[in-house]
């Protein structure tokens, strides 16, 4: 793993934006995946192809259940993205942030300079390559014209042929009247005009948010106990991903979703919740049809009180797997 646990500073910020939880850093995403079995869903598209719906990139979107679980473990903390931005910008624009702002502007200018230098270097190398090519072309052409002239002298050929061959590159002849022995070095000024850089990250310029001890746990849907049970109950340790594609709440993988097919289609219910028998039949048919188990689970009332305060609701969860036999 490129990003081991040593490189990552805990706790990791989860940015809450529009009611959704996002991770914006590759290091954090891979760390959570490797160490905490949180795969999340990549949601970012390229600006050039906003209609793409496979091979998505950062940011990584987390389910509310995943965010809650991570916060509860103390691995992550939730940052209200909009509020953090407002606060950070206000500070940066106020008198407190004067020095910081100037420093950031200087950094931006430095970045713009770097970009301009890089651009110049590229154009310079391209020009050198083009000049080199022309020179070899010209040498070959000269040799050929010499040969042609010799032929014309011997065979008394019409001069127009030789002329036309001579003027194959009239523009070049005009542009470089004297053949340069070596490509002339391009004069690069030490300080080109800096390019305008649009920063793509918020941190910097804004300072990284710090965890707030008073923050409450992110709210999660009522099926959270089942999620927590499948994720971290001793002996289960499954990966879960949103199950909308398969018509369930969670797709449960025995290992990393990149390596394994999912084993279960999971739906969480309250212990005494009444649900339609049809949903049981549908789930069973669906699961068996795609070679998965349809799994339902809920917290058994007596058991939950037994473990009250120890876990995060995952204690006392019981699961049942349903298979459609008539296929």
């Amino acid at each position: 793993m490129a990003h081991s646990s040593r490189d990552t500073v805990l706790p990791i910020p989860i940015f809450l934006s529009g009611g959704k939880h996002f991770i914006f850093s590759v290091a954090h995403a891979s760390f959570l995946r490797a160490e905490y079995r949180i795969a999340g869903v990549l949601t970012g598209t390229l600006p050039q192809s906003p209609q793409q719906n496979v091979f998505l990139g950062l940011p990584l979107q987390l389910m509310a259940e995943e965010a809650r679980l991570l916060v509860r473990r103390g691995v992550c903390f939730v940052v209200d993205d909009a509020a953090a931005h407002r606060e950070g910008l206000r500070r940066l624009c106020g008198p407190d942030g004067e020095e910081e702002r100037l420093q950031w502007l200087a950094t931006l200018r430095e970045m713009g300079l770097d970009a301009a230098r890089a651009r110049d270097a590229v154009s310079k190398s391209r020009m050198e390559r083009a000049l080199g090519k022309m020179e070899t072309g010209r040498r070959e052409q000269a040799l050929r014209s010499l040969a042609a002239r010799q032929q014309a002298e011997t065979r008394q050929a019409t001069p127009s042929e030789a002329d036309s061959e001579d003027t194959l590159f009239p523009a070049y002849e005009q542009a470089t009247p004297s053949p340069p022995s070596a490509p002339k070095p391009m004069s690069v000024s030490d300080d080109p005009n800096p390019l305008g850089v649009t920063p793509t990250t918020s941190h910097p310029p804004l300072p990284l948010p710090f965890p707030d001890d008073t923050a409450t746990l992110p709210p999660a849907p009522p099926s959270y106990p089942l999620f927590a049970y499948l994720h971290s109950h001793p002996g289960s340790n499954y990966f879960s991903s949103p199950g909308l594609r398969f018509g369930c709440q969670y797709l449960v993988y025995p290992g990393d979703p990149l390596r394994f097919h999912s084993h279960f289609l999971a739906v969480g219910y309250d212990w005494d919740e009444e649900f339609d028998l049809l949903s049981l039949i549908g789930g069973g048919r669906l699961g068996t049809g795609v070679k998965k188990g349809f799994l339902i689970g809920g917290t058994e009332p007596g058991k939950a009180e037994e473990f009250a305060g120890h876990g995060d609701g995952e204690e006392g969860v019981r699961c049942f797997c349903i298979e459609w036999g008539g296929m």
Partner: protein, 413 residues
């Protein structure tokens, strides 16, 4: 390619297909009703209207021998199973053959227990027609055998791969032997089944055969009607009399509606309480009546996790084309007119997106089209005002159909 096809056709001479019954003739009537044409109305002969009036009035007063009154079938309500039972053989056949109502209590759908039983006991000599249950059993057995074979091949392949990787020595083959044990065990099961069948046959075959024929071959099966089917036959078609087995009284349409509505929820409502406007019976009945009126053969669709299945002509002709989910809809203007009603409407249980995806995917697996039948539910006051008159009550409910189909831009070009 052509040679391969020719070879395969020559290698496996197909057994002649058993003659199927003439379903088109058997199920010619779409509903268990007799209809007779009226005398023609001739515009140039105004007196022909008198002939029509005469035909109508005389049929109203008394039925002629050529136009007998519609046969009413007897049925009784079974509280334990919350269904309506028809036991008379003629009624069972009539209700099944014209309109595909109900289900045999000992069969998968068509009541055919007696035929099956006769065949099993060897009382019927001709092997021509197979009952649908037998066909299904045979098909399942074939499929199971195919799956076993596929699993064996997969294991062999895995073993070969392991051997290639050197994780398995050439001699040992744990996977296949285990599999073969399983096959042997299942073969043993099959053998024991066979002996059981043989034993039962030997008991029946000799002198006790005739006795057994009388003792056993009483028809043990009856036709079960789901409440909305029974109510449709009784209220809409008027050809079913439902009796209460406890009192022996015939239940009128209004009593029947009340009974079905009260028992459609669990636990059943006490008799003095008015049923909710959106109880499962009335919602299902409205949709059932709607599609029956449009000429579809409608059957319950529990096994496909939907409320109703729509057949074009009937289950013996083709598979169901559409699967219907009944969804109550509280968004009509009247529900929004009042704050209290709005509050009630918002507390109704709403299904989530994954639920719809699940329903849709199940239909995708069985190649049916999912239809959401939205039933516009009237507000409670309005429904109660109309509860005395069944027709007026049913008029308050409206049905809208929406077809759902999974559409992927990449695949549906």
């Amino acid at each position: 390619m052509a040679s391969i096809i020719a070879e395969s056709t020559t290698q496996t001479p197909r057994a002649p297909r058993p003659q199927r019954p003439n379903y088109a003739k058997l199920h010619a009537k779409p509903l268990p009703l007799e209809t007779y044409p009226l005398p023609a109305f001739l515009p140039q002969n105004p007196l022909s209207i008198l002939r029509i009036a005469y035909a109508l009035i005389s049929s109203y007063i008394s039925n002629s021998s050529s136009h007998p009154a519609p046969h009413t079938h007897r049925a009784y309500y079974s509280a334990a199973t919350r269904s309506v039972h028809v036991t008379d053989d003629i009624s069972v056949r009539a209700l099944w053959e014209s309109g595909f109502f109900g289900k045999g209590s000992l069969s998968r759908s068509e009541p055919e227990w007696l035929e099956r039983e006769k065949k099993r006991l060897g009382l019927v000599r001709d092997k021509a027609g197979e009952t649908s249950a037998e066909i299904t059993r045979k098909r399942r057995e074939e499929r199971r055998e195919g799956k076993r074979e596929r699993a064996r091949l997969e294991r062999e392949e895995l073993e070969a791969q392991l051997r290639k990787e050197g994780k398995l020595t050439a001699t040992e083959s744990p996977l296949v032997t285990e599999q073969e044990h399983q096959i042997a065990a299942s073969a043993g099961d099959a053998a024991s089944d066979a002996t059981f069948d043989g034993r039962s046959a030997t008991i029946i075959d000799p002198l006790a055969a005739k006795e057994a024929e009388y003792a056993i071959l009483q028809n043990q099966e009856h036709l079960q009607l789901i409440p909305y089917e029974a109510f449709f036959l009784s209220y809409a078609l008027g050809i079913l009399d439902v009796y209460d087995p406890a009192s022996g009284q015939r239940l009128g349409s209004r009593d029947l509606l009340k009974l079905f509505r009260h028992t459609s929820v669990f636990p059943p409502l006490p008799a003095n309480r008015a049923p909710p406007v959106d109880d499962p019976f009335i919602l299902n009945y409205v949709v059932y009546h709607h599609f029956r009126s449009l000429g579809w053969v409608v059957r319950p669709g529990v096994k496909f996790s939907v409320d109703l299945l729509l057949y074009n002509r009937g289950p013996v002709f083709s598979h169901a084309e559409f699967a219907v989910l009944v969804v109550p809809d509280y968004s009509s203007g009247l529900w929004r007119s009042d704050e209290r009603l709005q509050k009630i409407a918002t507390t109704k249980k709403k299904e989530e997106w994954w639920w719809l995806h699940a329903a849709n995917r199940v239909q995708g697996q069985v190649k049916k089209t999912l239809v959401l039948a939205y039933v516009e539910v009237p507000p409670p006051e309005e429904a109660h005002a109309a509860s005395e008159d069944i027709g007026a009550l049913l008029k308050r409910y409206r049905v809208k159909e929406v077809i759902i189909r999974r559409w992927t831009a990449n695949r549906n070009r």
